[in-house]
């Protein structure tokens, strides 16, 4: 069972594209949209390319383009990790 976590994603996002918009306490970050967090499509492409290098998961651009929330992003990475393991 793969375990790419929301913390992994946030860490890579911040390294690639800087701090996101502040999130209120108690709000589930996984459910917010990337737009609300202040990350655009290029931030996600950059993040996907770092995740490929770090975790060996290939996320094609068209797949990344369909991901709206951190939760979806994490689930997709874990599904891909399970496929290759």
């Amino acid at each position: 069972m793969a375990n790419f976590t929301i913390e992994d994603l946030i860490r890579v996002l911040r390294a690639c594209a800087g701090e996101g918009e502040p999130v209120e306490a108690g709000v589930e970050i996984a459910l917010l949209s990337f737009g609300d967090l202040g990350y655009d499509s290029l931030a996600l492409l950059e993040t996907a390319s770092v995740i490929k290098r770090e975790f060996g998961v290939d996320l094609p651009d068209d797949v990344v383009g369909e991901l709206d929330t951190p939760g979806e992003f994490v689930a997709t990475v874990n599904r891909k990790l399970d496929e290759v393991s």
Partner: protein, 409 residues
């Protein structure tokens, strides 16, 4: 509508001072920002001096999200633009988003960013190249990032004419305002101080290979032997005069009263440089005669042949020694698209304070008698109209006339 276009805000990022106040106090006192290149090891290059903007920590001024996607020149441009807008007291709420546009000049693009990503491409592979390379290197990126950051969705663009482009951007900004846009953020900020950027400039043969910062860039001097490259520039806020008054703009630095651009004949044609014609057209556009111009901020190439043709153009229009001429860029090096906007900022501040900043370094003018150069120290002067000249590698000549504005109500 009077059609008058005025400058209501400005800011500078220059090798001899970051921010208007630091730049202007250094410039008035003849303080140079030229020194050994520190951004990379220049030991293996024939050009080792440059003007680098001091004390700039981008993280101190910009949100972290803008850092991974911006070249050094864009960071400088964003910070300078924010300061210029603050100076003009324009906020996103002052005017509609389509009433405000951005027109900057660029001479190259984000070369430092681009070099790093090219090194990754060839050194590590394509998957190591930043997604932001798609635009961070691009010559239009400063205009785009300023527009996005400040929500300015009116007519925007970028002008490319090497060192002359900074004046062409102001001319185009004025054109846009006359066509109905209330405000344009304009000017230019460049930086090309990476190995790739520097090497790309070497074939022009115009860069100084001198080792002594005090003797490296000596325009109009008998010992002139090229220019020192520099980084930085200025951003200016241009507005329709009536619109600026209606929103209660706190200050008006002056009017962009005249603008013209010409192009030189082919090299070795034997024909005269078109710089003189640019001066005459800009004066005509401003409705002023040569006797009404109180000072000239020269392009000051620092290349003997170009210095001679500029001195000839100025003296043929104004008469030998007929107008004070200065080149504060001797303290910064040539800033490419940022150089002329910085001169415009300096000229506006000169008009405000009644003082002409000096030309430093130059001691023995090769053009003695032709030009009344402001050498060594600043000179007090009542300035109502000032001419700023800029020439770009490849044959570009541009001229701008600035005029004080009486605010009597």
């Amino acid at each position: 509508m009077t059609g008058a276009v005025v400058i209501t805000g400005l800011s500078a990022a220059a090798p001899n001072g970051l921010g208007t106040d630091e730049y202007w106090s250094a410039t008035r006192t003849g303080t140079s920002g030229i020194g050994l290149i520190t951004r990379f090891d220049p030991a293996g290059y024939p050009v080792r001096l440059a003007g680098e903007v001091p004390g700039f920590d981008p993280a101190e001024h910009l949100p972290s999200r803008l850092l991974p996607q911006t070249d050094h020149m864009t960071r400088l441009a964003l910070v300078t633009a924010a300061w210029a807008l603050r100076d003009s007291a324009v906020t996103a709420e002052s005017l509609g988003e389509f009433d405000m546009g951005v027109v900057t000049a660029s001479a190259s693009g984000g070369f430092e960013f681009g070099q790093r990503e090219l090194e990754r491409l060839w050194g590590s592979g394509p998957e190591h190249v930043s997604a932001y390379q798609s635009f961070a290197w691009f010559y239009a990126v400063n205009t785009g990032q300023i527009s996005i950051r400040h929500g300015m969705r009116g007519p925007s663009g970028v002008l490319v004419a090497e060192q002359a482009g900074g004046l062409d951007a102001l001319g185009h900004a004025r054109r846009r305002i006359r066509r109905g846009t209330r405000l344009i953020v304009s000017g230019g900020v460049d930086s090309c101080l990476c190995p790739w950027g520097l090497v790309a400039q070497l074939p022009s043969g115009r860069l100084s290979t001198a080792e002594d910062p005090a003797r490296a860039y000596l325009p109009f001097d008998a010992a002139a032997a090229g220019h020192v490259p520099g980084e930085g520039g200025a951003i200016l806020v241009l507005e329709d005069a009536e619109s600026a008054a209606a929103r209660g703009a706190p200050r008006v630095y002056g009017e962009l009263a005249g603008y013209a651009a010409t192009f030189d004949p082919p090299p070795r044609s034997g024909r005269e440089s078109a710089l003189r014609r640019a001066i005459l057209l800009a004066l005509e556009d401003a409705g002023l005669g040569p006797a009404e111009i109180d000072a000239v901020f020269a392009d000051a190439a620092g290349v003997p042949e170009l210095d001679r043709s500029e001195a000839a153009a100025i003296s043929s229009v104004f008469g030998a020694g007929g107008v004070p001429v200065t080149a504060p860029k001797t303290m910064t090096g040539r800033l490419y698209s940022g150089g002329a906007p910085l001169d415009v900022a300096a000229a506006l501040l000169s008009m405000r304070d009644g003082v002409l900043p000096p030309t430093i370094g130059t001691e023995r003018p090769a053009v003695a008698g032709q030009l009344d150069l402001v050498l060594g120290a600043a000179r007090a002067a009542k300035l109502r109209s000032v001419l700023v000249l800029a020439r770009g590698y490849g044959g570009f000549n541009s001229a701008v006339v600035l005029r004080t504005v009486d605010r009597t109500g």
